[in-house]
Symmetry: C2
Subunit: 645 residues, 2 copies
Amino acid sequence: MTTNHYRRKIYLEDKPRLEAKNEMIKHFRPKREVEWLESTNSIGRVLAEPVFAKSSMPHYHASAMDGIAVVAEQTYSAHEQNPIQLKRNEDFIYVDTGNQVPSPFDAVIMIEHVEELNEETVEIIEPASPWQHIRPIGEDIVQEEMLFPQGHIIRPVDIGVLLASRTLTIPVIKKPFVTIIPTGNELMDPGDDIAPGKLIEFNGTVIANYISEWGGAPQLNAIVKDEPEQIKATLLKASEQSDIVVINAGSSAGSKDYTVHMIEELGEVFTHGVATRPGKPVIIGKINETIIIGIPGYSVSAYLALEWFVRPLICEFLQVSEPKRLMLKVKLGRRIVGTMGAEDFIRMNIGFVAGEFIANPLSRAAGVTMSLVRADGLLVIPPTSLGYEQGEYAEVELLKPLEEIKNSIVFIGSHDLTIDLLSSEMKKRNRSSSVMSSHVGSLAGMMAIKKGEAHVAGIHLLDPESKTYNKTYIQRFLADKEVVLYPFLKRKQGWLLSKGNPLEIKTLADIRNKEAHFVNRQKGAGTRILFDMLLRESEMSVEEIIGYEREMFSHLGVAAEVKGDQHAVGLGIYPAAKSMGLDFIPVSDEHYDLLMTKDFYESEQGRCLIEVIQSVGFIEKVEGIGGYMIEKNPEPIYFNSKCEG
Amino acid sequence: MTTNHYRRKIYLEDKPRLEAKNEMIKHFRPKREVEWLESTNSIGRVLAEPVFAKSSMPHYHASAMDGIAVVAEQTYSAHEQNPIQLKRNEDFIYVDTGNQVPSPFDAVIMIEHVEELNEETVEIIEPASPWQHIRPIGEDIVQEEMLFPQGHIIRPVDIGVLLASRTLTIPVIKKPFVTIIPTGNELMDPGDDIAPGKLIEFNGTVIANYISEWGGAPQLNAIVKDEPEQIKATLLKASEQSDIVVINAGSSAGSKDYTVHMIEELGEVFTHGVATRPGKPVIIGKINETIIIGIPGYSVSAYLALEWFVRPLICEFLQVSEPKRLMLKVKLGRRIVGTMGAEDFIRMNIGFVAGEFIANPLSRAAGVTMSLVRADGLLVIPPTSLGYEQGEYAEVELLKPLEEIKNSIVFIGSHDLTIDLLSSEMKKRNRSSSVMSSHVGSLAGMMAIKKGEAHVAGIHLLDPESKTYNKTYIQRFLADKEVVLYPFLKRKQGWLLSKGNPLEIKTLADIRNKEAHFVNRQKGAGTRILFDMLLRESEMSVEEIIGYEREMFSHLGVAAEVKGDQHAVGLGIYPAAKSMGLDFIPVSDEHYDLLMTKDFYESEQGRCLIEVIQSVGFIEKVEGIGGYMIEKNPEPIYFNSKCEG
C-alpha cells in the first residue's frame, strides 16, 4: 500500500458553492486579448468593442421598384384628363429595383403606371410625390451608427448588417485558452486495449466539448500519472500557457490525491471541498495568477463542478452573462431526502401525465453518467432543507426542451430489450415523440400507473396460484383506476450461464448443489417473483442460494454479472443471454404485457404506439432477436372502465 | 429598358404559408445517407440508428474507496470485542478507488476502518456486508443496453457514455447539402469597390450561417447575373448535386425575375407567392427531385422565408423536430395594423417597464435588416385579423433570452450619438444590463415615459418663449407623472454642409436664397422644433425651404443625406458632421437631458446609469468627440414627486 508524506495534510471543507464561486471570481485576473476577425467568420464570437457601420446601406438613393425616375415637381399637374409626356434621359430615366436614382430625380413611378409611347417617350396620368418608391441613403444602416455594443454575441443576421455596411473585420475577445489535465494511474485512452482495473479516460473529452460550447478554446492534455512531480510539472506549465486550468480528479483526500498539495506548493488554494452532493471534492486555487480548478473524478460530479466554476470563469473572461436554464414546477413522485448543510443536485426524469409534470429521481450515484444523460431536469435541494415529501411541488432546472418532455411517453416498469426498439421506432415515426423508460420492476411500474406518474408500464407478474399473468394483480392493486392491459408479447425466461456452462447447471437444485453465485433481481421485479415461486415449488429457502441478496435492476445487468464470473448464474430473458454470449436454459414462457391508463391508450400517442407494435417492421425486428413472440392484434382488456357495457 | 418574353407570365399567388409548407414537405424525398463518425467528433449530430453500448462501465467490479478487498463472509464475526486479523494476499488485498476487486473478494472496507498491524497483517473490528463499496460491473452502463435512440442529437455528456462504453464510432445522418445561389446584376462581393447602383451580396452569407446553425452543410455559389441561361445552368447543376437548393432573389414578378420561369422550364413550381407580409415573393418548386426554394431579395423577407421553408426541410432531412421559440405575452405600446388575408410578421422591441412587458413595432420595411437585428420578438398577426389596438395584449415569439429583455434599459426619444457609447459602457459594467434605444424624437420620447413604455427618454425641447429647455414641456405634458429630469449634456447644433461648403451657406436665409436642398427631421424631434423656431424668428415660411417635407429620423441620417448631395444642407449636431466629414457651422448650444421615471432613477439600474455617465472614462470619451460638454454631478430635478418637501 502506498503511503507518503502528503497523507497527513488531508482536509476537505464544506464551503457554500456560491461563496467559493464569488471568491474565485475575485481572484480572477483575465488577460483579455482582442482578435480582429473577418465578419464572415465571426459567428458566436463576442465583440471586444462597439462596432460602427463603415458605410451606409443603401449607400445611394435606390429605386424600390421597377419603373422610371422623375423629378416629382414636374409631375404635379398629371391627371387622367391631363396626361403628361416625359422624354427619356431628359425628364426621366428607366430604373430597376436597386438602381441608383441620380440627382435631380427625386421620385420613382412604377412601370405599371407608365404608358410607353415609343422608345424615347412615356406618358403618365398621376403625379408622383417627392421620394416615393425610393430607398433613401441609410434607410437600413447609416454610416457611423453603432451596429452593436461591446459584449454583443454575433448571430447570422448580424453578419448581414456587417457585410452590408462594409464592416469587413471586427474586434472580438480572443477565446480563453483552457488546459484540461486528466490524471490517474487507472486511466487509459479510449482506443487502448482494456484490462480490469483500467478505466477509459472520457471526462477530459466531455469537458473539452463543454468548454467549446461555452466559448472557450480547450486543450486536452495527455493523461498524467498519479506522480506528484509529474502533476506538478504539468500544472506549472499549464498555468503559464493558459487562461484557466482544469485538472480532473485527484481532488479528493485519498492517498493518491496529490492535486491540492501540488497547487499549494506552486501557488495558493482557496477552496478544497464545497457543500454540494455530489461534487464536494472540488479544489479552487491559483498558480502564476492563473485559476486552477480541480474537479472530481466521478463524471456527474465533474460536469456539475465544471458548470459551477469553469463556466462562470469563461463568461467572466468573455464578459457575457451566464445563460440560465428554464425552471419548471413539477410534482414529485417520490420522497427525496436532502443532505443538511449541503446542496443536493438530483437528476430527475420528468413526465407529462394527465396534465401534470411528474418528476422522479434517477440514480444519485456520482459515477452514473447515464443519470445525467437520461435526466430531463435538475432538482437542487438547498442546504437548509431536508428534502421533499412525495406529492410535493418543486422547481427544477430543465435540461431538455419543454416540448420534448411534454411529448414523451413515460414508460416504467419491468425491463425488456424490446422497449428500446419501440422507443427508437416511435421516434422514427413521430420525431417529437420519444419514449422515456425507467426500469423499476413490474410491481413498481404498476404503482406508477396507479399514482398517475406514467403512461405505460411493462409488467410480467405471475400469480403463483392461478398461474396467470398480470390480471389478478391489476384487480388487486388498481381497483379504482381506469386502465387497459394490452397483451404485448411472450418471452422465454431461463438460466443465464457462463459460456459452456462450466458448473453444469440444469435445474434450480443444481444452483444450490454446485454453490453457484446467484445474481438476483430487485424486489418487485417479475423475474424475482418467478424465482421465488420456483424456490417455493422446490421447497428451497433463500438461505440455500448464495448471492440471493445481490440485486440487479435489469436483465442485461444480470447477464453482465454472469459474464464476469465463471461461477455465476442468473434468471433472465433469452436475448440478454444472446447479446452477452452466454448459455441459456429455458425455464418458462411468460407474458410481458403493457398496462396503460385508459386516457393514454385512447390518445393519439397511444394509437401510434399500438400501430408501431403491430407494424411488420417492428414485429420482424423483435422476433428476429429470438425468444420473443409478439401478440398479433390482441384484444385489449379494460379494467374498471365506467363506460364499459 | 429590358423587356422579354418572360414578362407576360407574371403571377404571384397568396397561398397560406402552412399550406405551402405542407405541400413542399409532401414533395420532399430526402436521400439520407449514414455517415460513421468518431464519437469524439460528433457534437450536435443526429443519430441515424439507435446506439448500443459496446462494453459495460465499469467493465469489472471496481472498488469505490481506498481500502482493502475482503470476502464478506469472513468478516461477519468482527466486533470491537472481537477484532479479526486478516493476512495480505490471502484474506485481503489492498485496493485504491477504481481498482479491480477480483474473485473471491466481494466487499471493500475503507482504509480508515483498517488497523495496519504490519506489512502483512491488518485488523478489523466491524463486519463488511457483501458488495459494500464496490461499483458493480455495469453500474453506469451495461453492455448492449441502448444508449440513445435513433434521432438523438449528441451533447457533450453523451460523448462521455459513448467513450466509457467503448462505442468509438457512431452512425449519424449525413448533413443535407444545401446550395445557395445569389442572383442579381446589382450584386457585388463584399470586398469589391462599391459604386452607386451596386449592392453588396450579404444575404448568401447569412443564409449559409443559418443553414449551418440548423444542421445543414451549406455551399455558397458565386453571384449569378440576371441572365436566364446562366440561372438555368446554375439551377440545373445545383439540383443534381444538392439535397436542397436556395436561390436568392429573382423570386418576385419584375422584368428580371427569371427564377420562377427557369424552375418551370426545368421542373415544376408548386408555389409562387405566400400570404405573408413581408416575405410574399417566395417560390417553391422542384428540379430533378430536388426542392428549390426561391426566397425574396429583401433581407428581412429572405431570412423569414428561410425559416418558414428551408429550416423545416433540414429538420425533415435530419428527422428532428423543429425548435420552437418561447412565447411571451406583451402589452402593445402602439396600434398595429394587419393585412387582411395575409400573415404579418412584425419585428418588435420589448421592454420590461414597471412590471409589464411593453412591445413596440420596429420598421416594417422588408429591406431594413437592422429591424431584425434589433428585434426582441416577432409578432405574428394572423390573416384573419386586422391587427391590434394600443394597449391590447398579444403573444410574441422571443428572439432574445427573456433575462436579457428583463434587464434592458428602455431608452427612447431623441437621438444622440453618446447614447450608443452609454449603452456600450453600461454593458461593460454590468453585462446582463443593456440599453435598448429607439429614436423617435424628443416629444414622442416624453410621451413614452408618460405611457410607461420606457425607462429613460433623451429630450432637447426648446421652449421658444422662455428659451429654456425641457422643463416647461414636462410641466405641460406630464402633469401627473412622477419623473426626474437629469441634466445630461450640452451639445452644439448647427448647419451640416458638404465639404468645402460649395453653396457658401452661412445663415438660414442663405438656404432659401441659394435654393439648397434642406434635409429635415421628423415631427416632434427637438432639432425640428429648433428649425421651426429659427424660421419663425426670420419670418420665413416652410414653403420657402426646398426639402422641408423630407424627414430623417436621426442626425446621422441627415448627415448621410447631406454627404450624398452637394446641394444639401441640414440642421444637426457637430459629431454627426464630423463623423461624415462634413462642414459644420454652429447655430446654438442646446441642452440634451435625460427624463426618467422616478422609480427607474432610484433603482439599482438607474444608479448604475448615473455612475457611468459621471465616470471619468465616459466623460473623456464623449468630450473627446468634440461639440459635447457633459454636466458634472448636476442636481436632478424632480417633478410631481409626492414625497418631496
